[in-house]
Amino acid sequence: MAFDLSRRTALKGLMNGSAIAVGVPLLDVFLDTNGTALAATGAPVPVRFGTWFWGLGVNPNRFFPKGSGADYDLPPELMPIKDLQKKISVFKQFNVPLDGAPNLPHATGGPAVRTGRAILAQGGLPGESLDVTISDLIGKRSRFASLEISSSGDPRNSLSGRGGGNLNPSEVAPSQLYARIFGTGFKDPNSATFTPDPQVMARRSVLSAVTEQRQALEQSVGAADKQKLDQYFTSIRQLENQLDVELTKPEPLQACVVPKAVADRPVNAEIDTVMKNHELMTDLLVMALACDQTRVFNMMFNNGASSLTKVGSTITHHQLTHEEVLDTTLGYQPNATFFLTKIMEAWVYFAKALDAVKEGDRTLLDNSLVMAHSETEFAKFHTIDNLPVLLAGSAGGRVRSGICVDGKGSPISRIGLTVQQAMGVAVDRWGTKSMETNRAITEGMA
């Protein structure tokens, strides 16, 4: 390397740079500034981002915690997440104002969360989904920009795309997913030769040129201004170090193990098949993340107007949410809620699978940020205000997890804005019309 700086010394420079008079932390209490995304070895561990979607919402009064803030209460439908409560945040009272656009049943909620816009017509996305924006930033250097998976068998069930009609199609069969990740074209990340990215090299040279201005500038200013310029050039130095790290060969990934092949299985919307397929594909995805094949993923558990059915029954989950009448004693629709319980079970399996993989002193879940959401609040009436959203993981320590945030009726695009800022996207406003917001979520405590 031209600068013959081994990674360790480059990072040491980073660690014990001169005492930096840090201004007001740029990010707020919810987004923790320095983040401890450094593995024990000092090498920064990649931070991943993903979404997990389920159709047909929840029973609001049995899902949302009553209080807010840390260690929130767990109503019946949220009880399954109690083992991971410290790593999962719950968002309530975030609304989807449509400014007169029609609330298209099961079609408006999902795109609103992902693009901060209201769709006007059936099909497609009204704008770029936030997972693609994040993938443009962090997905460039891994083999796949992102992986889309649908476990209820429909390749067109996807909310990821650049807007308009074209959506990233989802993998539906475990065997095909295995072939795609670990089949031909899979290179063991620990052995591959490393070629630095020319764009980053160009940026590195620009920064070093700027640093050369240090002497000239600092000689001509008074003492007070000199301290400011010191700080400025130290910040440049830190940016240079970050680019250096990107230009050096990554550390070997300890948790990466190539799994054995997966047999072909039926793919349909029967709940037991879907649960099994979901588990198999989750395990494959987790290993793909551990082997840094991708850093962005989108898992669609079932469809918007979910077509899940019990074996031998002709009535879909969707039909139940409309046809089944509310049981006055229980206060919810028992048959429809059976499917919701299965969905929460699948979600917990997903989160635990990520949490099981160790990466240094943290787990894969700690180094990820997974946004789980549905496309409606209460399916019987297609309500999209107070749409359920969960955030698992802490993006390598950048995000506080394990709290319940009360949106108090503010637009749901605030969550999308916060998630993108946590993943490093340079964005200060997001969403359109009433969903345009520049207020990221700062109140750790409601």
């Binding site: 930096i20 764009q199 040279s205 040129a209 007070a224 200060d428």
Partner: protein
């Protein structure tokens, strides 16, 4: 990293900067010339006599980019907030502000994003009129033709020959890696946008003929001062040309230029920026209210409160050229549909703003009756006479009030549902009797209590918990009733106009210890012109003292010869 890159980086000399006041530099300049034949970038001497570095605020950065590259170039990223000094303006804080690594990372991302748009397919045609011989190779002539004018607007002064050469060489050398002439232009522009010469307004000085041995701001620094003070943006073509012709150090021509700028429609932008700083508008960011107690406070109301105050201010002061003192008594404001329910008034347009006049009985006196002001200085679940009184003392009268001591028992004041103490006035009596507290509460609560007929989000009410609200208040000896009384008292108080004058000077110079003589001089002129905001800003923009460099005079250049190594600035 290829070998070529290595030599480039090490051989790179610091940017040669125009003008030498430092006698040794002459030697450096000569040596550098010898080293490489063309006027290659050298470790040339520093800028002459830098007397101040003031960081651009977010609005100044955005306005500058819009003025230079057009309003359709999007600036997206988060600006590291400038820390506001105690009882001071952000404009003063900008003089002390440094740049944290996270903040610089955002500036770098924004710079690359802007450069990408400027030299991207869509806009390239507007900014690159010459076509490179081979778009895959460097083309110094074309790069220079593109980057030099842009550099002049960005650094608010012409690039020195060394700077031109530096950025052209930078573009040339990155073509190898990026493989495209336009991509290398992007990197050169990104370098300019992250350079301290853009992010900071560098104030340079020259010897002051009127005061031998003292320094005064030179022409280009005055151009920047005028543009940022009056239009909250970078100097436009006319100002840069005036500076080039040295017309801004001539008091008469400075006067005519500033007078024209104050009459321009862009002056409103400057007034908006000034009052956003003076009235602490950054606090709107964290404003939140309890939705059960105040159901009328929703996202749209949150978004429109600051804008309503700014429109009220600019309409009264700029559009109508009104008297600053009547800003606290006028009943004219602007409404938008989202604010209608808070004020319970009829709004005729579904979109946009419409002028609105309060009826005399509404007691909505100017700024004091604005829901934005009233909501900002209230608690999340109840109004606060103390916060409002303190805000008026500190923001409008420039009288700092000390913070409350740590061990204060707030329960009495917080319990708004206690039937025995239905109104805030009764609840606050506890403070006015306790010796420790009464010191401050005597000077804040009487003011705030006159605004108690406006609840925590500024909605009108006549009773609290069923008890009628008594709105008599006092400032020192003056007693009055309600917001209108408070407004008239403030208008009559000389503190008010003196406060805005000192703030305007602090906003212009970025220092809050202006000489009393300067303040009185300007305040007298301000009064003579019936306290119009144009007159105040014109006087501040043209006061010679504002351009004098304070502090001990810079001794003459170092006379003795220093070691060659130091002269060449090698570490």
């Amino acid at each position: 990293m290829s070998l070529k890159m290595k030599t480039f980086a090490l051989g790179m000399a610091a940017v040669p900067l125009a003008g030498l006041a430092y006698v040794a530099a002459g030697a450096i300049h000569a040596d550098a010339a010898a080293v490489t034949a063309p006027p290659a970038p050298t470790l040339a001497a520093p800028l002459d006599n830098v007397v101040g570095l003031r960081r651009l605020t977010e609005s100044q950065y955005r306005n500058t980019i819009a003025d230079i590259f057009g309003p359709d170039v999007v600036v997206s990223g988060r600006f590291e907030p400038i820390v506001r000094p105690e009882h001071g303006l952000i404009a003063a804080g900008a003089r002390e502000a440094s740049l944290s690594p996270a903040g610089l990372e955002q500036y770098d991302a924004m710079a690359r994003n802007i450069a990408g748009q400027v030299f991207g397919e869509a806009h390239r045609g507007q900014f690159v009129r010459c076509t490179p011989a081979d778009p895959k190779q460097a083309d110094a002539a074309c790069a220079s033709a593109v980057l030099t004018p842009i550099g002049r607007y960005l650094f608010r002064r012409p690039l020195t020959t060394e700077e031109q050469a530096f950025y052209v060489k930078l573009a040339g050398d990155t073509v190898g890696n990026t493989g495209s002439f336009y991509k290398s232009l992007e990197l050169a522009l990104a370098a300019m946008l992250t350079s301290p010469k853009f992010l900071y307004v560098i104030e340079t000085a020259e010897p002051d003929p009127a005061r031998p041995g003292q320094m005064r701001l030179d022409n280009y620094s005055r151009a920047s001062r005028l543009a940022l003070l009056l239009w909250d943006s970078a100097p436009n073509e006319a100002l840069l040309t005036a500076a080039a012709q040295g017309r801004l150090t001539d008091q008469a021509q400075l006067q005519t230029t500033a007078a024209a700028m104050v009459r321009s429609e862009r002056f409103e932008q400057g007034v908006r920026a000034f009052f956003s700083d003076m009235l602490l508008f950054e606090k709107f960011g964290e404003l939140s209210k309890d939705p059960i107690v105040y159901p009328y406070f929703n996202t749209e109301v949150f978004n429109t409160l600051p804008e309503q105050m700014l429109r009220t201010i600019t309409d009264h002061l700029v559009t109508r050229g009104g008297d600053y003192r009547q800003l606290f008594t006028t009943n004219r404001t602007f409404m938008t549909r989202a604010l209608g329910p808070v004020y319970q008034v009829q709004v005729k347009h579904s979109y946009g703003w419409e002028p609105y006049e309060f009826a005399p009985g509404d007691d909505r006196a100017g700024l004091l009756g604005q829901a934005g002001f009233l909501a900002l200085y209230s608690h999340s679940g109840r109004s606060s006479p103390t916060l409002r009184g303190r805000a008026i003392r500190e923001l409008l009268m420039c009288q700092p009030v000390p913070n409350p001591p740590g061990n204060v028992n707030f329960t009495a004041v917080q319990d708004t549902t206690n039937k025995a103490m239905p109104t805030a006035r009764i609840r606050l009596d506890a403070h006015s009797t306790d010796a420790v507290c009464s010191g401050c509460h005597k000077i804040t609560d009487p003011i705030g209590l006159s605004l108690e007929r406006f609840d925590g989000i500024g909605a009108f009410r006549t009773t609290e918990n069923g008890a009628a609200i008594d709105t008599d208040g006092a400032i020192g000896a003056a007693r009055f009733q309600g917001a209108e009384g408070l407004g008239r008292t403030l208008a009559a108080d000389p503190q008010t106009t003196q406060c805005v004058t000192t703030r305007a000077i602090e906003y212009a110079t970025g220092r809050n210890e202006a000489a009393d003589s300067l303040v009185e001089g300007i305040e007298k002129g301000f009064a003579a012109d019936k306290y119009t905001i144009r007159s105040l800003f014109l006087r501040v923009a043209t006061a010679p003292e504002a351009y004098q460099v304070p502090g001990k005079p810079l001794d003459d250049a170092v006379k003795h010869v220093t070691m060659a190594a130091i002269r060449q600035g090698r570490p």
